[in-house]
């Protein structure tokens, strides 16, 4: 939802004026059989590409998910090439492949993922969309809207190419650590934030450019300055298929729950989609997604 990121700001402030409270609770949940999870987000960056296979686990089981070992994982393309992902012996459930020579992933290429487990064969398809270069990363001094304290924020600058239908996941790293909190998911459709209202062929809109920042809070639940002197930001733009954009939008809706008054704007819990299909339609289901990205990147250190 377009407004969510704005409304939660408002709502944090509104809630301080009311009488709301939150309690962590421990409800009993229905138990369910595990389902195959395919985590297949590969890209054209140099080095090993990894696809992981795991099982779903009970919601409150806060442990490393159980790995699916011994599967056959491969990706083929529209030029008849086939890339076999080999299970890493030290990391169960991690299947890896490294590009070499002519065996690379190309912008514009179509790709098919095949996963064969002991009883099922799953398939998914994707294509590699184009990605614009990042012009620059800048830092801006501002103040915390709630406390008035000075803060420093990073912003990246890039322009969406003309032509609708481009989609991106902007992934950022602060001092080498990937920023992957649900509230930090930063996706763009063309230069805007949603499919519904086309914003094409211009500089990414301000909410996208600025959403690369870390969202961390102190003990009083106040937002910390995203950047301190000496911090460095690294930003990658990953191209997405339209389906992958929709998927990540759903992931953002389902996982980004800042609580408080933002709950008034929250939608009911629902399963996110998947593009992993069992060739046997009566067979076991799988969840997860397969997407092949082209990547552009830039980085910069903040020095006062």
């Amino acid at each position: 939802m377009k407004t969510s990121k704005h409304s939660y700001l408002l709502l944090i402030f509104a809630s301080s004026l009311f009488y709301s409270c939150e309690d962590v609770i421990d409800p009993t949940l229905q138990s369910a059989d595990p389902v195959v999870v395919v985590d297949a987000w590969i890209n054209n960056l140099p080095g090993a590409q990894t696809i992981t296979l795991t099982w779903t686990q009970p919601y409150f089981e806060s442990q490393i998910p159980p790995a699916i070992t011994g599967a056959t994982v491969s990706v083929s393309d529209d030029q008849g090439k086939n890339f076999l992902f080999i299970e890493n012996v030290t990391k169960p459930g991690h299947y890896e492949w490294s590009p070499s020579g002519a065996d690379t992933l190309r912008v514009g290429g179509k790709y098919w993922l095949t996963v064969i487990t002991d009883s099922d064969t799953f398939q998914a398809q994707s294509y590699m969309g184009r990605v614009p270069a990042i012009d620059s990363i800048t830092y801006e001094e501002d103040e915390n809207i709630a406390t008035g304290d000075p803060i420093v924020r990073a912003e990246f600058w890039a322009t969406d190419p003309v032509g609708t239908g481009d989609a991106y996941w902007i992934r950022s790293f602060k001092n080498g650590v990937p920023l992957l909190k649900p509230g930090e998911i930063n996706i763009a459709f063309d230069a805007g934030v949603s499919i519904g209202g086309p914003t094409d062929g211009v500089m990414f809109v301000a909410p996208v450019r600025r959403r690369i920042n870390a969202v961390d809070r102190d003990e009083d639940d106040q937002l910390l300055s995203p950047i301190e002197n000496g911090d460095s930001m690294h930003v990658q733009i990953h191209s997405l298929t339209v389906a992958a954009f929709t998927y990540l939008n759903e992931v953002s809706i389902q996982t980004n729950r800042p609580g408080g008054f933002a709950e008034l704007f929250a939608t009911p819990l629902a399963n996110v989609s998947t593009n992993i299909l069992n060739l046997n339609t009566n067979g076991r289901k799988a969840v997860g997604f397969f997407n092949v990205s082209a990547v552009s990147a830039a980085g910069k250190r903040y020095v006062e």
């Binding site: 407004t3 408002l10 209202g197 500089m203 969840v287």
Partner: protein, 796 residues
């Protein structure tokens, strides 16, 4: 238009079956007013002893009764007023305007009026509740502020999903299925501050009536209920100022005569000031932030002569939320109603109403001109509504008329500026015309049997200029692809629908003190509130029926038993069962994009619904201790292809048990105490079964793909308020001209943390790569503590 012709035919058949005119008959009529302030009184019983029958005054205080030549004794009675009896020699038409004098002890009369003299038992109406403003003023409320919609929630069949939810639910219908009328103008969003307060200023409200079933043919357009709020006309005898200073806002109303007994006005205003008070402590407010609402209610009327009267009323209200000087959002309603009452002859009463009603919201983000985003959305309607009442004789009252509403929608008028480049992302406007004709007759067949029957034909057109989108089929639950579109010119019809809406109800007297009533009604709804959030909120958009969205239809059956428990009619009991089926109900695909989406209709799903229940109600109407107990056992479900595996699922606002208790007690002549207690079953929600990760993000998963598969903990709450009347006499023994009172209230007395929602998320800390992410469930209570408040109210 064969539908229309059939309707005209039916119309005439009803007309022809009306009793003959042969016998020499004369009419008594007039307007009944409150002697203290000149306000017309709605629903006054006019009882003719000789025929053991009578009528009641209409929304304008007018009554008319036609009888054979003779001498009659007529009693005029109304709760809280002294009964007046008049002997009338009826050898010609007689005009009999009456001014009723309030009873001295009127403060003790706290009633939700089931028409005390003409009690529920004797009335043809069922499934309706009248809410007296006096009751509203004495009900303990959040922040001590009397509120119409929150008082309404104490009645049987009315519920809400909790604090923070805009609107209310009636008999398992959603918030958008209630038609809320303020002096006949539709109010598209009835809430201030996310539902904590309603848009109705109690200082300016005269009468409130909620129709939950047995809806007369003159009303239409929504499936679940009609809430008809009528404003005061203003004191036509003397100037009066009422007001109050409370914890959250202050109110002031001025009313008085313009020409004594001929013309009067009322102007009432409210403004919240929580942000002003908090400004020194909250930096965001110091920097231009705001959090407030205000509203203004106006009305004036002019009695041209006995046959003609005009009324002009208006409302303007706004909620404002700003993070700083330039960023934030605001929303509000504006309405204007012009009415003309005309008496053609002694028996034919006409009211013509013209209405302008608008709801809009606007958002603006971005601190500078190079990067900003602004967006507004609105629904504007223009209504023309002539309505005739023909008081045929003492047994028949025929109402007929027509409605025409022209809608203009701005789904989104949005502009983004990124790095100085302007991007237009507005959606095309939508135009619609909704027309209806109706006729209904209330007929007393015998002393034991009364019936009311009517028919409404509604017709809806989606007009150009506009674009029709055609969507392809897909697996239910997924976004439908656009496979074509067609552009229409101005005035061309893009889509149209017509519906007959029959209405029928009956009352059978069962012994001296009891009656049985039943009804059937069909309702059609052409506007749809698009909302997939936990609770309705101000950004929800109304969307008209189109080639893709079909009109919603409902069929409701009710059956009720009404009984006076004691001879003196102090105690009244009612039991009502209802069953309603609905068609073309809207739900949403997972991940639906509802805001600024040209292809919104591709994200909507359609299904059927059913709601049924039993409402029990006991009321003690008079005495030092009075009040009521209301219990509703209900169920509300939907069945939509693509949700919950295509199986029935409970709606978000389904409540199995809903118990409400309201009590009012006079401690002394100056101290009064009021209490209410509410218990409702926890509303349904969806819990996950499992979890998985994608690229380091934890995602909840429900392996059964079910919707609303569990219930939240039960909701219960006790509120108490004390009211201290100011002294009636001065120290020197003289009577005070002014009156005032204090209200001290405690909301949520035992500080229960009632759940608004339970949500599932990963914990906020950053999880290092290769480590397990921690998941948790959080229960949010919007009001999690006791909320004390005090307010001072005055009148002079």
């Amino acid at each position: 238009m064969s539908h229309f012709r059939l309707f005209v035919l039916v119309f005439f058949v009803i007309g022809l079956t009306c009793p003959a005119w042969a016998q020499e008959k004369f009419t008594i009529n007039g307007t009944i007013k409150d002697n203290s302030n000149g306000e017309a009184l709605i629903g006054v019983t006019v009882y003719v002893r000789e025929i053991s029958n009578g009528t009641t005054t209409n929304e304008y205080g007018f009554y008319s009764i036609t009888l054979p030549k003779g001498t009659y004794t007529v009693d005029y009675s109304y709760v809280g007023f002294q009964t007046v009896s008049r002997t009338v020699v009826l050898d010609k038409n007689v005009q009999q305007p009456i001014e009723l004098v309030p009873e001295a002890s009127q403060l003790q009369e706290v009633v939700v009026k089931g028409e005390i003299e003409q009690a529920n038992v004797e009335n043809l109406e069922m499934s309706t509740n009248k809410l007296e403003i006096k009751t509203i003023l004495r009900t303990p409320m959040l922040f001590g502020e009397a509120d119409l919609l929150r008082s309404l929630q104490l009645l049987p069949g009315v519920s809400t999903v909790g604090e923070g939810a805009s609107g209310f639910n009636v008999r398992g219908g959603n918030v958008g299925q209630n038609l809320i009328l303020l002096d006949e103008a539709p109010v598209y969003n009835s809430s201030h501050l996310f539902g904590f307060f309603s848009v109705f200023n109690p200082d300016a409200v005269k009468d409130t009536k909620l129709y939950k079933g047995a809806i007369p043919s003159r009303y239409g357009g929504r499936l679940a209920s009609i809430l008809d709020v009528r404003m005061k006309e203003g004191n036509s005898k003397k100037f009066e100022v009422t007001g109050g200073i409370g914890t959250v806002f202050s109110r002031l109303a001025v009313e008085g005569p313009i020409v004594k007994d001929k013309a009067s006005f009322i102007i009432a205003a409210r403004r919240s000031y929580i942000d002003v008070l908090a400004r020194p402590f909250v930096p965001i407010l110091e920097n231009g932030g705001a959090l407030n609402f205000y509203d203004l209610t106006l009305k004036t009327n002019y009695d041209i002569n006995r046959r003609n009267k005009i009324y002009l009323s208006g409302y303007f209200g706004r909620d404002v939320f700003r993070f700083d000087k330039t960023q934030g959002f605001n929303w509000g309603n504006a309405t204007a109603t012009l009415r003309w009452n005309h008496l053609f002859n002694e028996r034919l009463f006409l009211n013509v109403t013209g209405v302008y009603a608008d709801y809009d919201y606007a958002l603006q983000f971005g601190k500078d001109e190079r990067d900003r985003f602004s967006w507004n959305s609105s629904i504007t309607s223009y209504i023309f509504r002539p309505q005739f009442t023909y008081f045929i004789d003492s047994r028949n009252e025929l109402t007929f008329g027509a409605d025409a509403t022209y809608y203009s929608f701005i789904p989104a008028n949005a502009e983004g500026v990124t790095n100085g480049d302007v991007v237009e992302i507005s959606l095309g406007r939508k135009y619609n015309l909704e027309t209806s004709v109706y006729a209904g007759n209330a007929q007393k067949i015998s002393e034991k049997l009364s019936i009311e029957y009517g028919l409404r034909y509604s017709y809806f057109q989606y007009l150009g200029p506009g674009t029709e989108y055609i969507y392809g089929d897909t697996i239910p639950g997924l976004r439908k692809p656009v496979i074509g579109s067609k552009t229409y010119g101005s005035g061309e019809v893009i889509a149209q629908y017509g519906n007959f809406e029959p209405r029928f109800s009956f009352r059978v007297q069962a012994g001296q003190r009891a009656s049985i009533k039943g009804s059937y009604n069909r309702m059609a709804q052409y506007l749809h509130l698009i909302s997939n959030t936990t609770a309705s909120n101000p950004l929800d958009v109304w969307n008209p029926t189109s080639n893709n969205i079909k009109p919603q239809l409902a069929d409701q059956f009710t059956l009720g038993y009404f009984r006076d428990l004691t001879e003196d009619k102090k105690y009244e009991f009612s039991a009502e069962a209802y069953y309603r089926t609905t068609q073309n109900q809207i739900d949403y695909i997972d991940g639906a994009d509802l805001l600024i989406n040209q292809y919104l209709e591709g994200d909507l799903l359609s299904g059927i619904g059913r709601a049924y229940g039993l409402e029990l109600y006991v009321q003690k109407k008079t005495g030092r201790l009075n009040g009521w107990v209301s219990y509703t056992l209900g169920r509300s479900e939907l069945k939509v292809d693509g949700i919950n595996g295509g199986q029935w699922y409970e709606t978000r606002f389904n409540q199995l048990h809903n118990l409400k208790l309201a009590a009012f007690y006079d401690l002394t002549s100056r101290w009064q105490v009021s209490a209410n207690f509410i218990f409702t079953s926890g509303t349904p929600t969806t819990f996950p079964t499992s979890r998985f990760t994608q690229q380091g993000i934890l995602i909840p998963y429900n392996a059964f793909e079910s919707r609303n598969n569990v219930h939240m903990p039960d909701y219960h709450r006790l509120d108490i308020s004390f009211r201290l009347e100011g002294k009636k006499v001065k120290k020197n023994g003289k009577e005070r001209k002014n009156s005032d009172y204090w209200v001290f209230s405690l909301y949520n007395v035992y500080a229960r943390r009632n759940p608004f929602s339970i949500y599932f998320s990963q914990t906020d800390q950053r999880t290092p790569a290769g480590q397990a992410i921690t998941s948790q469930a959080t229960q949010l209570s919007i009001i999690g503590t006791i909320v004390p408040s005090v307010s001072y109210n005055f009148k002079f």
